[in-house]
Amino acid sequence: MAGNIVLRAERLGKKYVIGNQVAHDDSLMGALVARDFKGMARSVRSRLARRKGVPRNTVEEFWALKDVGFEVKPGEVIGIIGRNGAGKSTLLKILSRITDPTEGRVEIRGRVASLLEVGTGFHPDLSGRENVFLNGAILGMSRGEIRRKFDEIVSFAGVERFLDMPVKRYSSGMYLRLAFAVAAQLEPEILIVDEVLAVGDNEFQRKCLGKMYDAAEHGRTVLLVSHNMAVVERLCSRALLLDAGRIKMDGPVRAVISEYLADSDAEVLECAPESDSSRAAEVKRIVLRNRGGTPLKEVTTADIFNLRIELLVRERRPDLKIACSLHDALENPIFATCPADDGVTQPIEPGLHEFLVAFPGPLLLPRRYSMTVSVYTAHGETIHNCVNALTFDVLPAASQVYSAEPNRVGVLQILCNWKHKLHQDASPALEREISRTV
């Protein structure tokens, strides 16, 4: 490998097998039957197939990545962007050695640390102190290294008083801070980061970002997957745009981001995410509609629209939650809303749930927006995250706020209540003030 390359991927491909065969074969009985009594199995299968109207043994191959090749120079900070299912996480998993590529090869020079999650391996029953050592070892630190940095970790996380308490009694904020404090001590030459910045409150995210900027400035090689274009643009000099498992564009960060944003234009303001039967719950469909319930093809500054979400709950999860958030073109969140805001219960019971989210009044200025719907648990586990499920441009049309002053700053038009009064009985103090300014 040439001296000035720290990572080289050549013709990387990752194949997954999906479809009926998998579900069938995953039990030993299924495989035994298929192997030993092939004829019998075939007849049973075809009978089943006739009844159900689907061929029973369709093996569907799915290439999550195909022909991906790139080189990374030392100190480069590369953003990997693309829509959901484009292969970003698969690529990170291969580079982190979590899974093997189906084809192609990767050469990596130097110590790699991957941060695909904060708090990997934290055990709820162990104390904070114990978890620091556990998590540190999982991230690849030696015991001596952790012991040296222990005090720093603890003071950074601010959990001194709770060190000997099981982390299951920690608040979620404390938990995240401690987890991140350990990860922040990693000293790899190549750092691979997945959407870890997407958890926690603003303060926490700011801390994470700060670390990332520092790492980039200090000449570490960083590969970062993010949906937050503002972060990618600030942090990275170069970006890879993945689309359907292939590299669609590889170049300077700005050019790649604008290509990505231009590409995510949708004709109909409706989204049916890819189904995955292993999820405890998943979003089946998201539609933007007008007040009468007709799906919208476009949104204008005059529209009062609502959002209809179909959610399929497969398993009863008492702590299941749903929320949606609106983002600007750089994918900075503008606001988020959830059923609890309006006293509506969360979707706990199995079944098909329907949510209607009505937005109060015409809200949006003529900008580009995207809508994200997330299903998660109170413990922070992501069940189904439809990031940027809908991306749409708002077109100008007459509305009370927008018409009054079309060239305003910001992204929202909010009709605020203004009151005005002119004080005729000016006091001597005010008179002095007026005469001074005149």
Binding site: E103, R111, G121, L126, Y213, A215
Partner: protein, 297 residues
Amino acid sequence: MSLSTRDTTVDLTSAPVQSRDQLTDRVIVLDAGHAARNYWSDLWRFRDLFMILAWRDLAVRHKQTVMGVAWSLIRPLATVVIFTFVFGRVAKLPSDGSAPYPLMVFAGLLPWTLMTNIIGQTCGAVQNNAALMNKVYFPRLILPAATVAVSLVDAGISLVLLLAMMAWFGFWPDWRILFLPVLIALALLASLGPALWVTAVNVKYRDFQYVVGFALQFGLYISPVGFSSSAIPQQWRLLYSLNPAVGVIDGFRWCLFRGEAQLYMPGLIFSVAITAVVLWAGIAYFRKAERTFVDLI
């Protein structure tokens, strides 16, 4: 707006990178269809993780239990009492020489429990750590290895109990006890082979764990745990030694009971040979399968 947090003390970035083992010039090559080249050295590099996972499993096990470590004593003792009653009193099977029947049962139960724990728990270890495997790389062999360590601690507790019981019966071992570590190692290796194989298969076919559970239960009765293998007719003993547990258990009794339990040499050699073959096959299969664990789990 400032996004930087330079006022904080933690530094992800302290300038020159000093990794503990100076791997700067190490090149990792991930080649489709080829196993990682530095597998065994990786395994060594991750020894801290191995230690800490073993420690975690031990630490977690007795959290929120009333009896805690006492469970490690109660379970073998109860089994010894039952087996002594069933095989010694009811079936009236002979013990090994002058060794008291409960001691003979315990000396067989100890390696048997060690081996079945290893096989039974490695299976679960990979399943339980699925989340971990999904997010970090480490040689997956560490997970089974850590459970072996945990089972070994259990066996150690049992051994202390067994020695105490031997003192109670006034039945002291002689120099042969020096061979005990060798036999413990044999027990580990004999169970690790099947354990790795079972674990790898179970990742793909979940129902395999039920087969294993049943097989182990069945094995308890066909292995010489509740009785002495001298109860087996001489012409069948070599065939009986196909079960690697037979050689291990016989060996344990030989070294604890002053040689009063006869060591059946051909059987032991046979057991060792089978152990070696199964272990090699187990490791080979596990290494082949572990690269796709994450995709299947």
